[in-house]
């Protein structure tokens, strides 16, 4: 064992109560950092996951129709009336779909035909969103199969998959038939193949998923689609990617981030308050380590004087104290991580949702522990700088003389 570490460990061992207290202090600090990170990462991940459970990452659709005056410029007296919007299709959607699939970062693309309609069975009638999709492609955008509460994920001719609330409203179950009518008066009958719960009441009440061709016929857009929905690799890079797609296709591309700006603002302010708390915890831990080590330098001034007198170079003595800081940080981070895991596990088990999932899901990963350990180690060493310099400045002659 190197001289510096040997002496550092003995000094720590000699200071029993002090050492125990500072280990406890650092451990609690690290535990708070680990626990807080695990909790907030978990909460945010679950919030985002819930939001994206019923939403595509990016929607690409045709631009709005706008009226343009024929004559423009000074003297042209015109009044522009905004036209009512019809159902518009994406021109050359197969080409656009290929273009999207080629774009790096896009994982999956699904064509969608969607429009308004009524679903009815007997006397019951509800306003719904008719969404024509290809089962195979759409499940890669929104994972409906795993969210089915009854039936199967199957969209063959004349089949529909609907939400839980709508099924309740209409009083249908798997195998029953529902009738879809559009505002223009076209109607068709579908057999319910599956019922889903996407965790969003509005979606559960309104979505009726039908085969793409049936929707095209119903909504009178034969051969066309109204939008292309995409899944991307990096969820938080969706807005940037949407911007790129706007440029590439000349169409409107909206990301989930633009549609959920409020949620993102909330997440961001949650994160910044967490960083603030962690920062002050680190400062408190650093001050704790520094104050204990400063006291230990004063207590050990006799020993330091002897070591100096016997010819120990100043830099070696400084290293003894820096190492003490590092050991305190290192041991504290291990104990603290364990404590943090226990706390997080306890908290996760404390409250559960009706479906058995934890109300406060925690997310523990290796990076979190490595970061905490790195921060604690660095804090320990930095906090030891002042005590180490103090030790270096001690005059052995004075110390030895005074006993």
């Amino acid at each position: 064992m190197p001289f510096e570490l040997f002496v550092a460990l003995r000094f720590l061992r000699e200071g029993r109560a002090q050492t125990a207290l500072i280990f406890a202090g650092v451990s609690v600090g690290v535990a708070v950092i680990v626990f807080l990170s695990a909790l907030i990462d978990g909460l945010q991940a679950s919030l985002v996951e819930r939001t994206l459970g019923s939403q595509p990452h990016i929607v690409v659709r045709a631009p709005e129709e706008a009226a343009r005056p024929l004559a423009d410029g000074p003297g042209a007296l015109v009044q522009v009336v905004r036209p009512a919007q019809r159902l518009r299709t994406v021109e050359g959607w197969l080409r656009v779909q290929a273009e999207l699939e080629r774009t790096p970062g896009v994982v999956a693309v699904s064509p969608v035909v969607s429009g308004a309609g009524f679903a009815s069975r007997g006397n019951a009638s509800r306003s719904v969103a008719v969404r024509g999709v290809e089962a195979e492609r759409f499940q890669r955008i929104i994972d409906v199969p795993s969210k089915l509460v009854a039936g199967a994920w199957r969209l063959q001719g004349g089949e529909a998959v609907i939400g839980q609330e709508l099924a309740e409203d209409l009083g249908v179950s798997v195998g029953d038939r529902v009738r879809l009518t559009t505002a223009e008066g076209r109607a068709d009958s579908f057999r319910v193949a599956g019922i889903f719960d996407l965790g969003n009441r509005d979606v559960n009440e309104r979505w009726v998923l039908v085969p793409l061709r049936s929707a095209q016929t119903l909504l009178d857009v034969v051969g066309g689609v109204t939008s292309l929905e995409a899944r991307v690799q990096d969820v938080f890079g969706a807005e940037a990617l949407a911007g790129e797609l706007r440029g590439r296709t000349g169409l409107v591309a909206e990301s989930w981030m633009a549609l959920n700006a409020q949620l993102l603002t909330a997440l961001r302010s949650q994160s910044s308050s967490r960083y603030m708390i962690q920062f002050f915890v680190i400062v408190a831990v650093a001050l704790g380590i520094a104050s204990v080590l400063v006291v230990s330098v004063v207590q050990k001034s006799r020993e330091i004087g002897i070591l100096k007198a016997m010819g120990t170079p100043t830099r070696k003595l400084m290293r003894v104290f820096l190492l003490q800081g590092a050991v305190v940080g290192g041991v504290g981070s291990v104990l603290g991580s364990l404590l943090g895991v226990v706390l997080a596990g306890f908290f996760e088990g404390l409250a559960r949702n009706p479906d058995g999932s934890p109300t406060f899901p925690v997310q523990l990963d290796a990076t979190l522990f490595l970061t905490a350990a790195g921060v604690a180690l660095l804090t320990g060493v930095l906090a030891a700088v002042a005590p180490a310099r103090r030790a270096a400045k001690l005059d052995p002659a004075v110390v030895i003389r005074n006993g």
Binding site: M1, P2, F3, F6, R10, F11, R13, E14, R302, E303, G305, I306, L307, K308, A309, M310, G311, T312, P313, T314, R315, K316, D395, P396, A397, I400, R401, G403
Partner: protein
């Protein structure tokens, strides 16, 4: 070790001269007593000779090397290789066993423990008659035993010169005498030079040479004649 016209001043605004031109040469194998009343400057002189402090004027040479040419780390290295210290208050490191205390100068110099270090420390403890107390901590040892460990430690690096500041200062007469005999024995057997600061005139008379410092000057420097 040779001191030439060494002076030492303290204070920034009001300068007090503690040492006024000391000339002193210690030859290999000498056993010298340094005596003088309190405040005579003998501690200051000891600090200078121990290379713990730098003189305000004059030169200190160790084996022909001028110490003013060395920086602090150079001085520390020179201390480690050529000097041993024995202090009045024993000054062992409380966190370490007797054996580890004796090893410490070697460990500080070489950086890592090895078997030869441990062997040498054990042999030295044997020389001071404490072989069986090697694993005891300083708090478990008597004053005389602690001082013997301190002597073993001072000799660990086989120094040319051992500076002993009141080595028997707070020991009873019997223990004092034992410790003193130990120093004499090492002096005879190893030809190590000793400089012993003492208040005890009987002890001083048992050395080979007696240097008396009064008011920052050497008043007498004479060989001790034994009846």
């Amino acid at each position: 070790m040779r001191l030439e016209g060494v002076t030492k001043d303290y204070g920034e605004e009001v300068v007090t001269r503690v040492l006024h031109g000391i000339d002193l040469t210690l030859m290999p194998g000498e056993f010298v007593a340094l005596v003088g009343p309190s405040g005579s400057g003998k501690s200051t002189l000891l600090n200078l000779m121990g290379l713990l402090d730098r003189p305000s004027g004059g030169r200190i040479q160790v084996r022909g090397q001028d110490t003013s040419e060395l920086d602090d780390d150079g001085l520390a290295a020179l201390r480690a290789r050529t000097l041993g210290f024995v202090f009045q208050f024993h000054h062992l490191l409380g966190a370490f066993s007797a054996l580890e205390n004796v090893m410490m100068p070697m460990l500080a110099e070489r950086g890592r423990q090895d078997a030869s270090m441990r062997e040498r420390a054990r042999a030295l403890l044997g020389d001071v008659g404490l072989a069986e107390r090697a694993d005891a901590h300083p708090s478990q040892l008597s004053g005389g035993q602690q001082q013997r460990v301190a002597i073993a430690r001072a000799l660990a690096m086989d120094p040319a010169l051992v500076l002993a500041d009141e080595p028997t200062g707070n020991l009873d007469t019997g223990t004092s005498s034992q410790v003193f005999e130990l120093l004499r024995r090492f002096n005879r057997e190893r030809r190590t030079t000793f400089l012993i600061v003492t208040h005890d005139s009987r002890l001083a008379e048992r050395c080979d040479r007696l240097v008396e410092v009064v008011d920052g000057r050497i008043r007498t420097d004479r060989p001790v004649t034994r009846p």
